[in-house]
Structures are given as C-alpha cells and as structure tokens.
C-alpha cells in the first residue's frame, strides 16, 4: 500500500493536531455553556486521536490505530454519561451555564 505520508509530511499532521488541541483548550477555558465546553473536550480528544493515527502510519505499526478505536469507544460512552448529567442538571436548575454550578464550593 502506498504511504500517504509520502504526499503530505508528518509535520503537517502534528501542526494540525496541536492547533486543534489548543482550540479545544481555549474552548474549555473561555466558553461558559457546558455543551460547548463538552464539545471542546471532544476536539482535544480527537486531536490526540489524529496524532495517534499519524504516528501509527509513520511507524508502519497498527497498534496506534487499534488504540484509537478503543479511545473512541470510551469517548462515546463518556459523552453519553456526560450528556445525561447535563440533562439532569438542566432539569434541576434550568441552566447549563457552568458559572451557575457552584454547589461544590468548599
């Protein structure tokens, strides 16, 4: 099989991944809507997944790709739980603005 990395260099994947990750971090830090925070987390996760796959191809080793499948499965489960929590929060306090979630105050 022809290696796609011969056409687009590995460094491009790394840059893309870093950019995606940073977008995710800023999303988490600056947005107050819990769903958007959640989406930002997913972006970070997928940035890492992308890097995994890229390196896996670069090393000609399938393990990285297998790992990504697991990671995606876990992420799906996590999203299901997280969204359920958000729904429950919304039912309780009528808002999903994280600034309102201060019940854990010490």
């Amino acid at each position: 099989m022809e290696n796609i990395l011969n056409h687009i260099g590995i460094e491009n994947y790394i840059f893309l991944s870093v950019i995606l990750f940073c977008i995710g971090v800023f999303g988490v830090l600056y947005r107050r809507n819990a769903i958007i925070v959640f989406m930002s987390i997913e972006i970070m996760l997928n940035a890492v997944n992308l890097l995994f796959v890229a390196f896996s191809t670069y090393h000609q080793d399938a393990e990285g790709q297998v790992f990504v499948f697991f990671s995606m499965a876990v992420a799906a489960a996590e999203v299901a739980v997280g969204l359920a929590i958000l729904v429950a929060i919304f039912r309780n306090i009528g808002s999903i603005d994280i600034a309102n979630l201060k019940n854990l105050k010490g």
């Binding site: 971090v25 988490v28 830090l29 107050r32 925070v37 994280i98 600034a99 979630l101 201060k102 019940n103 854990l104 105050k105 010490g106």
Partner: protein, 628 residues
C-alpha cells in the same frame, strides 16, 4: 472423682455467691443466709475429707485443671495443690467461715442488704480458697487480689456512712502498695526461673546456683506484699480502720483468715526465705516492733473493736517474728490458735455490740456479765487464751514463739514478752470494762439489754471450746502432732525441737508470770480501783499521743498524702491546662490552614479547569526541559 470433688470444694462458695447476687433478694433473707452457710459448710466437709486422706497417706493431692500460660520457655499450669499446709488453712478458713456465716444469719437479720452481705462473704471464701489451694504463686496472687476486693466491699458494706467508705478505700490503697511489692517479687522469680510453680521453684532455688542478691530482692518484695495484707509496720494502719465493717467481717476477714495470708505466703515459700537471712532478720525485727507498737496502742483504746484490732496487729507481729526466726511451724501454730480465740473475741464483741444497739465505746458498757452469761464465759476463755494462761491454746503457741525468740535473739525475746504482758493487760481491761461493775450506758440501752439468740451463741461456744483445746495439736513435750504433720514442707533444719530443760521451764514460768502481771495490773486498776477511762477531751500528756495512735495516720497524711495531693493539684491546675492549650492550639492551627485552603475551592468550574490546564502545562514544560 478426686478432681470433681476438688472443683466442688473450690467452686461451692462461688456458686453461692452467684446465686445470692442474682436471686438473693427474691429468695428472702433466711434463704440467702442459709444458702451462703451451706455453700461454705460444703467446702468445709470436703476439706475435712481431704485432710483426713492426706493426714493418713502424707501424699499431697495435685490436680492439674488446664494449661494456663505458655510463652516461649515460660510455662504455667492452672493447678490445685492440696498439701499439708493448704489443707490446714482450708480447714480453719472454711470451718470458722461456716461458723461466722451461721452467726451472721442472726447478726445481720435487720439489714436490708443481707443477701448482698452473704454473697460478698461467699465470694471472699472462694477467693481465700483460691489463694490457699493454687499450685503456683500467680494463682495465689489472684486469690490475694480477690480477698482484697472482698475486704474493700465488706468494710464499706454500710456505704451510706462516708467514714466507712473512707476506711474501705484506705484498706484497699494500703493493700495495693503491698500488692505492688508482691507482684514485683513474682516477676523477679518468674524471670529468674521461668516458672512460678511451687514444686519447680523449690527445686530450682534449693539447687543453690541462683543469684543470692536477686533472691534477696525478690524475698524483700514478697515480704512487702505480706506487710500490706497482714498489717505489719509500716502498712498496718488500715486494719484498725477496717473495723468499720460489720463485726462478722472483722472476725472472719480482719482477724482469722485474710490477714494471715501473708504468713501463709512466707510459709509456702519458706525455701526462698531460708536462703535470704538478711530478709529473715528484717521480718523478725518488723514483726517484733509491730507487736510492741500495736500492743501499746491497744492499751488505751476505748472502742471495743479497736482494742481487738490492735491486738490482731500485735499477734500478727508475733507470728512474723516466728517466721523471721525460721520457725515456720510455730508461726502456723499461732495462726491457728489465734484464729480460734480472735474469732471468738470478735464474735463476742459483736454479741455485745448487738445487745448495746451498736454502741462500741467501752466507757458506756459495764456489768454485762449477769445479762449475757454465755457471751461473757466464751469471751473470758478466749481472753485467757490470748493472754497466754495455761492450759488455754494461746499459751502453747505464744510460749513456743517466745522460746524460739529467746534461743535466737534476747532483745527480740524481751520485746515480744513486753508485748505479751501488754496483751494480757489490755484484754483484761476490755473484760473488766465491758462485763464487770455497773452499767454505764443510757437507761434506754439498759432496758434493751439481752443475751444474744442461739445462732450467735452457738458459734461462740464452739470457738471457745476450740480456744480451750486448740493447744493440743502441738504440745511442747516432744510429741507435737503439728510439727510432724508439717515436716515434709520444711527443710531439715527446722525439725529440731526444743528439748525441755531448766531454761525452757523457766521461760514458760516467766511467760505465765508476765501474763499474770498484766492481768493483775488490769485487775488493780479497773476492777479494784473502779477506774473508767477519761472522756476524749480530758486525755492529755503521753496518753494522748498513744490514744491517738502515735499520730501515725496524721504523719502519713502530712508526709505522703498531702504531697501527693499537692502534686496532683499541680498537674490538674497547671500542667493539664497548659497541655490542653497546646493540643487545642495545634487543632485550631490545622483548622485555620484548612479554611485558608478551602477558599480556593470556590465552586467555579472555570477556575478549576484553568488550574488544571496550567498545572498540566507546567508538568509538560518541566518534562520537556528535563529531557533536553
């Protein structure tokens, strides 16, 4: 079969105790008393059975109940040893115990807590039997502590009177001081020989390769234990105060049985004391001095029970003198005769107190001879016995002690003889003040005077007969049954009996003359002179010092109790607040730090995430730089 009988002997009083504790109140007074008496009487019957057996076969009965302690090379069985010595003790503990239980049925019939009284008495007998029959020192210690507990409970039996409670506490604390010595002695012996069993200890000690210095310390510690339990100088002051308890208790515990535990212990461990002459000297001196001091205090006491209490201390001193001189069989002989006549005297005084409606001051008595003939006669016999007049039992035992002292050490003989003269004097002073002349109490008391009922007089008569004939068990004419019976317990050295020569007959004559002088002096002063002791506030001079017991209690108070109280006040008022301030300070410091930290947790998720990212980045940057 034998094992079961031994168990019954040991546990019968304990069962009596349990039943009386749980069901005594419901069963009623008569039932509770009868049950307690039967339980002890059962033990007595079995003791007699075993005594006859051992007397015939001369073979001790040893029963192992179970393995008790087994730690590396230290092994101890929980066993019972019925040999000549323990059976002798069993006989008079359970025998006199039964009589006193019988007596108490009548004496305590007005008391609302009669079932409690009998349960305590039964518990006492149980512990006393444990003390006597154990096969090693640790079992003896269990009994030792148990009888101390019962003594405490019974001295403070009338707990509504604060003075009585104080007397009970005093007895308990004084005993504890001695017990500490006893315990240390046990530990030393245990660490030296890895066993506490009498037989094994005897074998190990008599083998002769033990460190004498250590043995001396151990023997000294054991002797301190004995001074506590047997009321010797300097720990004797609890015994006179212990008279706060009901009179049967004074008779059983504080005259006939428990206070002889110290003598039992030293006799039991005679092989140890034989090897430590230094301690033996101390025992002899302490015994003689105690005999003299206590007898001199007894001369001027006016409380009928106090006189008897000091007389007990004094007689115990004589026994310790004999122990210190290595004449164990003589000490045992005096223990037995003393148990008879002193129990009789105490029960007699109880009979008088009963008739006088709890008046104990002899200055308010007098003339009771005609009203209470049986009490008078029995007490007279016991008094003659304690004064050492032949042929009463006390003559033989006291005479043997004096003879032993004469052959060993003349000054000790002089001291002991002086104490004997004083004994005769104060005992007849007691008799004359109580039973002769005219009645000095109130009209109302006079109206109620009566001879005590049969349940009280019967034990008196039995004990009087025993005080009369008790001397027969060890006659001085070379055929002493007691010495032969006890012979297997002691090393050969003690077998030598005094061959009766001119010296011995002279000594006997001196002893009897001394007793008669004491009686004569008392007769002259109290019967012929009709002297009645002065009221408390009129006593002055040296007599006041003696009347107040040489101010020993006050001295102990000032020298020991006050400083300890001061120390405890210092701890309570200065040290404890300081410590608690420190501890509370540490606590509030942690609290303050915590509330400072908890401000970070303000509940804002944004802040948490920010901190999380910053932290993570910091870790990454660090790793990145570190790997470079």
């Amino acid at each position: 079969m034998e094992k079961n009988l031994v168990l019954v002997l040991l546990l019968a009083p304990f069962v009596g105790f349990l039943v009386n504790v749980f069901f005594g109140k419901k069963a009623g007074k008569g039932m509770a008393g009868a049950l307690g008496t039967v339980a002890v009487a059962l033990s007595f019957v079995l003791s007699v059975y075993f005594f006859l057996q051992v007397n015939q076969t001369a073979k001790p009965i040893a029963v192992k109940l179970f393995d008790w302690i087994s730690v590396s090379n230290f092994k101890l069985d929980f066993g019972i040893l019925l040999d000549q010595l323990s059976l002798l003790w069993l006989l008079f503990v359970t025998g006199i115990g039964s009589l006193i239980h019988l007596y108490s049925i009548s004496y305590m019939h007005d008391d609302e807590n009669m079932h409690k009284f009998f349960s305590y008495l039964n518990l006492f007998v149980f512990f006393m039997i444990t003390l006597v029959v154990g096969s090693n020192i640790l079992i003896m210690f269990i009994g030792w502590e148990g009888v101390g507990l019962c003594s405490y409970l019974l001295i403070g039996f009338w707990y509504k009177n604060q003075d009585y409670n104080d007397a009970a506490k005093k007895a308990f604390i004084m005993n504890r001081i001695g017990d500490l010595g006893f315990l240390i002695g046990i530990f030393i012996l245990g660490s030296m020989f890895s066993t506490l069993d009498y037989g094994q200890l005897k074998a190990a000690i008599t083998a002769g390769n033990a460190d004498t210095a250590k043995l001396t310390v151990a023997a000294l510690c054991l002797f301190i234990g004995a001074t506590g339990k047997s009321a010797q100088l300097p720990l004797y002051t609890w015994l006179p105060d212990a008279m706060a308890g009901p009179t049967p208790v004074s008779a059983l515990i504080h005259a006939a049985t428990m206070v002889t535990a110290g003598i039992f212990m030293i006799t039991r461990l005679n092989f140890l004391f034989d090897l430590t002459p230094f301690v033996q000297n101390i025992i002899a001196i302490v015994g003689a001095v105690t005999a003299l001091v206590a007898a001199s205090i007894g001369l001027l006491q006016n409380d009928i029970k106090k006189v008897l209490a000091y007389s007990t201390v004094s007689q115990l001193g004589l026994m310790f003198l004999a122990l210190g001189l290595g004449a164990y069989n003589v000490a045992v002989f005096h223990v037995i005769t003393h148990a008879f006549f002193k129990a009789c005297l105490f029960l007699g005084s109880g009979s008088v107190i009963h008739a006088m409606h709890h008046e104990q001051d002899m200055r308010r008595m007098g003339g009771l001879r005609k009203i209470m003939p049986i009490t008078f006669m029995t007490m007279l016999i016991a008094t003659l016995a304690i004064s050492g007049i032949p042929p009463f039992s006390g003559f033989f035992s006291k005479d043997e002690i004096l003879m032993t002292a004469f052959h060993a050490n003349i000054p000790l003989w002089v001291i002991a003889s002086l104490a004997s003269i004083m004994t005769a004097f104060y005992m007849f002073r007691l008799m004359y003040l109580t039973f002769y002349k005219d009645f000095r109490g109130t009209e109302e008391q006079k109206h109620h005077l009566h001879e005590s009922p049969g349940l009280i007089t019967f034990p008196l008569i039995v004990l009087a007969i025993l005080s009369l004939v008790g001397g027969l068990i060890s006659l001085p004419f070379g055929n002493s049954w007691l010495n032969q019976y006890l012979a297997p317990l002691f090393s050969e050295a003690h077998h030598a009996e005094h061959h009766l020569g001119t010296t011995e007959y002279t000594l006997m004559a001196i002893a009897v003359a001394g007793g008669l002088i004491g009686i004569g002096l008392a007769y002259n002063k109290y019967l012929k002179g009709g002297y009645v002791p002065k009221e408390d506030q009129d006593i002055d001079g040296f007599a006041k010092t003696v009347y107040n017991k040489y101010y020993v209690d006050e001295a102990y108070m000032a020298l020991i109790v006050k400083p300890i109280n001061g120390l405890s006040n210092f701890f309570r008022e200065t040290l404890e607040p300081a410590l608690s301030r420190l501890v509370y300070g540490l606590g509030s410091l942690a609290n303050g730090l915590g509330s400072l930290g908890s401000r970070v947790q303000n509940g804002s998720i944004g802040l948490y995430l920010f901190a999380f990212v910053i932290g993570f980045s910091a870790i990454f940057i660090y790793l990145f730089l570190a790997n470079k």
